[in-house]
């Protein structure tokens, strides 16, 4: 066990609040967890040295004021955590009918009981930092959409960190039957910070979640998080994940088909430069029949950066008639960069259609050179020739304003990456 984890456990032992039973359970699991090494499958390619060495610490300074980035032509119901504490001054006052957003400790007893029973049920216990978040989460926010409510304005959850801060944020979202909601998770952290940010989504029958997760900061922070989804009968989700790397950026997603005829789409793209690391572990559990999943994960990795992808699709015994596809494409731009990808299928039902594909391709240097000889700048030529496969996923984003906001940011980043 590392010193960092020991200190986390010690800190957690002094917390006593409405989540106590869940925290105690997580604490017990944590105390028997081995600190990952290269031999730990879930951390095979992602060393945790930066966590062991971090100087980030909890900063409780009300004077620090951080604001989420403004997005053109886009307004949202804003929910901002600053260094792990919910900044209630930023919370939109008038919420649309059918939507409620509350701090866990402010709930009524019966609401608390309900929130408690849902807590950490969608997020599997195997995620080490999920357990850390269980025990250290400062403010836990509960978002509820009433059955049938269609919330047109998206909810943006921003996790904002100042230099050197440590934060543990936690949100629990439940969509009532037949409801609709769009959620954006956005992490904006300044250097040498450390955050764990976990969100659990319970999507009831026929409900529809549109989900985005942006981690576009780079640099020396440690950013570990998870988005976990449980889908009931005929529920739908569409998720888009856009990530740059950092010293350590790790995301675990879990999609659980807990009802029949559920439909999940996950599109993830990451562009890594410098000595960044990004690690996406995406698990899809088909526990019930007739579900469909489509996953597209695309990465571009330059300089000394490293990308890690683990895409697991697990078809349980009863999940007959499942259709599940995973497609992973990568572009490697330098011989000091690394791509480690592992698409996995684990199938226990016979009447299913499952497939995965993974490719690692090269930048066509000849075509690049050809365009340059015709006067096109190298960066422009690079975008012309290779941006398409990222652009396709941006095109699939259901929210046009977000797509048009993120597109130039991604393109610019790609143009800056060097072919070596």
């Amino acid at each position: 066990m590392s010193e960092w984890l020991e200190s986390a456990i010690t800190r957690a032992q002094s917390i006593n609040d409405w989540l106590a039973p869940k925290r105690a359970n997580a604490l017990e699991l944590l105390s028997t967890t081995k600190w990952p090494t290269r031999k730990t499958e879930a951390w095979r390619y992602t060393p945790l040295r930066v966590v062991e060495r971090t100087k980030a610490k909890s900063i409780d300074d009300a004077a620090i004021r951080l604001l989420p980035v403004a997005i053109e032509n886009f307004s949202a119901i804003e929910l901002a955590f600053v260094n792990g504490k919910l900044d209630e001054s930023q919370l939109t006052n008038a919420l649309p009918k059918g939507l409620s957003i509350s701090l866990g400790q402010n709930l009524s007893d019966s609401e608390k009981a309900q929130a408690l029973s849902a807590f950490s049920t969608t997020k599997p216990d195997r995620h080490l930092f999920g357990l850390v978040n269980d025990v250290l989460a400062q403010d836990v926010v509960i978002i509820t959409v009433e059955a049938g409510a269609e919330i047109s304005e998206p909810v943006r959850i921003s996790s904002l960190l100042s230099q050197g801060a440590e934060s543990h944020t936690r949100v629990q979202v439940s969509l009532g039957e037949g409801s609709r909601l769009s959620v954006i998770e956005d992490i904006q952290a300044q250097g040498e910070s450390l955050s764990t940010a976990f969100v659990e989504y319970n999507i009831a029958a026929k409900a529809h979640l549109e989900h985005y997760r942006f981690a576009l900061q780079t640099g020396t922070n440690v950013s570990i998080g998870g988005s976990h989804f449980s889908l009931k009968d005929h529920a739908k989700m569409h998720s888009t994940i856009v990530s740059f790397g950092s010293d350590l950026s790790r995301l675990d997603t879990d999609i659980i088909h807990a009802g029949e005829f559920a439909d999940a789409k996950l599109n993830a793209m990451h562009l890594l430069d410098g000595k960044e690391l990004f690690d996406l572990h995406a698990t899809v559990e088909h526990a019930m029949p007739n579900g469909t999943t489509e996953e597209n994960v695309r990465g571009i990795v330059a300089d000394r950066a490293r990308s890690v992808f683990n895409g697991r699709i697990h078809i349980h015994r009863d999940a007959q008639k499942t259709l599940a596809e995973l497609n992973n494409r990568n572009l490697l731009m330098s011989n000091t960069a690394e791509i480690n990808t592992k698409p996995e299928l684990e199938i226990y039902a016979d009447d299913v259609r499952c497939a995965h594909g993974a490719t690692v391709a090269e930048i066509d240097k000849q075509a690049l050179y050809y365009l340059q000889t015709r006067g096109v700048s190298r960066s422009k030529a690079q975008v012309m020739l290779n941006f398409g496969f990222i652009n396709e996923l941006i095109d699939l984003m259901p929210n046009a304003a977000l797509a048009e906001w993120v597109r130039p940011i991604i393109r610019e980043r790609f143009a800056q990456m060097e072919v070596k």
Binding site: A337, E344, E346, I347, G357, A358, T359
Partner: protein, 478 residues
């Protein structure tokens, strides 16, 4: 329909008989004295014993791997006997006439006559029975071409320089738990050396037979193809039907020097255990080859036997332009568990690898493909293509794919695809409407699924593999 198909896959294990041979068998148990005795039985030089002992000491420090998707009770390594040989083999028979007829009958029953006149003219055979090689055929003819094909125990005495140079050079002593154990206790196996520029005049093959109860078989094979040479090697394995599990932990090392080519084919038909998972062989095997410049190693395997299979024939593509291939059919049924695949390590420039894996799962079995493709920084222009297809028969089995893809070179291209399918009702109906009975229909559809792999087997073996699968698929349909 599923039930029909599963029944069609049921079969009698035809190699399940026990030969009535009087054997000299060590008491179960493993310590340094056992290793010394093995070394003594084999008249080994001191350096070989030291090599074994150092491997044993490493092994004691190692842990049994647990990452494969297989589940079996903990093996008691002290309950296994590490040496068993027919008494008749004690004084090495000089010729076939001196070999115990019961041993010859055993191989004849398995369809491998050892009397040269009766054999396929193009195949030389090394027959390994428990811990010893019984006979190696066509040695004279091979010697004319300069080819060495003999039991490895003999090679250690006759060609110590070659053995010293190459043994453990591809699979290091402490590569993994079972490889280390094998280094300590291996008893026999085959050694092949093909001299420079030589095309081996015949197919070489080794048939491994486990007969004695409570013994493990730890064979070791080393094939060295010198510059510009070519060899095709076949390997077959069977064991009697018993209620106890038996351990088989082999190591195979291949060295393909510049411009050499080795084709290594396996038809693995160890006893798989009964329907309920009682008995069967634990098959924990390390196979690896190294390719120097322009060399090629091609692994083809048809895996139908064993209770548990843990096996990843691999290629280290060290030399520029070298080529690695892996073609695999793995069929599991009953309670069989297979975790098999390959590793392709691309080190040299313009190296190429192809992986075609076909997994068929039926009954309550689990069948996993596990593979690694690694492009190192020096592997400019390297290419890999991987295709993994699984066929599921019934909803009580599992089919899994765990491919690791690691790239560190921007000019390397990797393509990996995996699909899963089933024998469809439509396909069965079409076949039956044309007059085929369900067994024939299943066997034809499954054979079609495996075709890409079967066509890689050498002629002599393709027939055998076809027959094996035919037997595998035979059975009554109620």
């Amino acid at each position: 329909m599923t039930e029909q198909i599963d029944k069609a896959l049921a079969r009698e294990y035809e190699a399940g008989f026990v030969s009535d041979v009087e054997s000299e068998t060590f008491e179960p148990g493993l310590d340094e004295s056992v290793i010394r005795r093995i070394s003594q039985m084999k008249n080994e030089p001191e350096w070989m014993l030291e090599w074994r002992l150092s491997a044993f000491r490493e092994w004691l420090e190692m842990e049994e791997p647990d990452w494969a998707l297989v589940d079996y009770p903990k093996i008691d390594f002290q309950a296994i006997s590490y040496y068993s040989a027919p008494k008749s083999m004690k004084d090495k028979p000089k010729s076939l006439d001196e070999v115990d007829p019961e041993l010859l009958r055993t191989y004849e029953k398995l369809g491998i006559p050892l009397i040269e006149q009766q054999m396929l003219a193009g195949v030389a055979v090394d027959a390994v029975f428990d811990s010893v090689s019984v006979v190696t055929t066509f040695r004279d003819k091979l010697e004319e071409a300069g080819v060495i094909f003999c039991p490895i125990s003999e090679a250690i005495q006759k060609y110590p320089e070659l053995i010293k140079k190459y043994i453990g050079s591809v699979v290091p002593k402490k590569d993994n738990y079972y490889a280390a154990l094998n280094c300590a206790v291996f008893t026999d196996g085959s050694f092949v050396y093909i001299p420079k520029g030589t095309r081996c005049p015949m197919e070489l093959s080794t048939y491994f037979r486990i007969n004695e109860q409570n013994t493990g078989q730890f064979e070791r094979t080393l094939i060295v193809a010198d510059e510009g040479s070519h060899v095709s090697y076949l390997e077959g394995c069977t064991a009697p039907q018993r209620d106890e599990n038996q351990l088989h932990a082999a190591v195979v090392e291949l060295v393909a020097m510049d411009n050499a080519e080795i084709k290594y084919s396996t038809v693995q038909n160890w006893y798989p255990g009964d329907e309920d998972g009682k008995g069967g062989i634990y098959n924990f095997v390390t196979k690896r080859g190294i390719c120097h410049t322009n060399a090629k190693i091609s692994w083809t395997q048809v895996e139908t036997g064993s209770a548990v299979t843990w096996k990843y024939p691999s290629c280290v593509l060290k030399g520029d332009n070298s080529v690695g291939e892996f073609y695999s059919v793995a069929l599991t049924r009953g309670r069989q568990q297979a975790d098999t695949g390959t590793k392709m390590i691309h080190l040299g420039k313009n190296t190429k690898s192809t992986i075609i894996s076909k997994g068929i799962s039926a009954g309550k079995s689990n069948n996993s493909y596990r593979g690694l493709v690694r492009m190192n920084p020096g592997a400019d222009g390297a290419r890999n293509f991987t295709q993994c297809d699984s066929l599921l028969i019934g909803d009580k089995c599992g089919a899994h794919t765990f491919p690791y893809v690691e790239s560190r070179n921007p000019s390397a291209i990797i393509e990996h695809e995996a699909t899963t399918s089933k024998v469809s009702d439509e396909q069965m109906f079409l076949c039956r409407q044309r007059g085929l009975d369900p067994e024939k229909a299943v066997s034809m559809i499954v054979n079609g699924f495996c075709k890409e792999v079967f066509k890689e087997l050498p002629m002599e073996f393709a027939v055998e593999a076809g027959k094996l699968l035919e037997i595998s698929l035979e059975g009554s349909v109620g």
